[in-house]
Symmetry: C2
């Protein structure tokens, strides 16, 4: 108890870094609000983000390097927020619902997230690839729900068949090129999930 | 009958173009034999292809522009040959077998082709993307077999779940990074195909 306050805690960043993180968080929140407000990433310029967050444009550039860098950070941020909702958010996406209800909620929210992030990935240019860690989280979650459902067989490989139709290039082709509705894709995905997991 | 030989037929290219096509075919066959002989695309250099086909290196460069161009042509060529086997080759990949047998043969041969072409795609660099027409053929074939099997539901969307696990990036991750055997992937794919098509 005595000298605790003098010793840095392993998890606590030094004060400057904590300020920088808060700053960064505020800029990302401003950018996110701009995306949500216009339903498009086109209007999210470095100027607009600076104005919304009440800082100079130079600060935004120093923090993210370029608009592509900002888009890549936003991509990462939206993925992390989504993961938090899966881990500890309200059911049925979060814990507390039946596994099939959770699987359906997963499919719907991943579908929506990936359609939104398709634009971010494009805007992020070469910086816009998702980490393997992001895919890995999604794969682990689906395997966990399949195990909860008592799915028999090679669950690790069967899960790829549930994940792949939700991936960005496939959704972009179906929605933006072929004009298939999100409702139809979701209904087919739920049907697929029931067939693969053999849940009536 | 009289002046037929004087009129060019719509499908017949002029003699020079026919020669060029034969030449191109011979070079691609030489490149293909080099790939098969070494089970690797690394040894397939412009020099090696020229030597094997008995022509000067300049001819290979004139025909394909660069090694990347040759790899892209080889990719296209192997896709076309595979399509011909599906359309009119021997069963069970070609016509004449039961639909489930054909679907299984499709899965096995697509799996093998895609693992081989993964190397070609990498070696072809920026030229190394498959055309949408190639994907379209594969999707049409699987939908056709699902209809033959009497699969109910949204066959167009359900078929994406059968196609996605056979795609190059997924196979590369499983085989080259995670070390999963081709046999295990094939067995899981057949199980998946039976679940999705609801074939016992």
């Amino acid at each position: 108890m005595t000298d605790r306050t003098l010793l840095p805690l392993v998890d606590a960043p030094p004060p400057e870094r904590r300020d920088a993180a808060r700053n960064r968080e505020a800029l990302l929140r401003a950018a996110e609000e701009l995306v949500e407000g216009s339903c498009s990433v086109e209007n999210v310029t470095m100027d607009a983000v600076a104005a919304k967050a009440g800082v100079g444009k130079g600060t935004v550039f120093r923090r993210f390097g370029s608009r592509e860098g900002l888009m890549a950070a936003l991509l990462d941020h939206s993925e992390t927020e989504w993961q938090a909702r899966v881990i500890s958010g309200p059911p049925p996406l979060g814990p507390g619902a039946e596994p099939m209800q959770r699987l359906e909620a997963f499919g719907r929210s991943r579908l929506e997230l990936n359609l939104l992030t398709a634009d971010l990935i494009r805007a992020a240019g070469r910086a816009g690839t998702r980490s393997y860690a992001a895919y890995s989280f999604v794969a682990m979650h689906v395997r966990h729900l399949m195990n909860e459902l008592g799915t028999e067989g090679d669950v690790a490989l069967l899960s790829t068949a549930l994940l792949a139709p939700l991936e960005v290039p496939i959704l972009e082709q179906q929605v933006r090129v072929e004009g298939i509705s999100v409702e139809r894709i979701y209904a087919a995905w739920v049907d697929l999930a029931r067939r693969v997991t053999q849940t009536p």
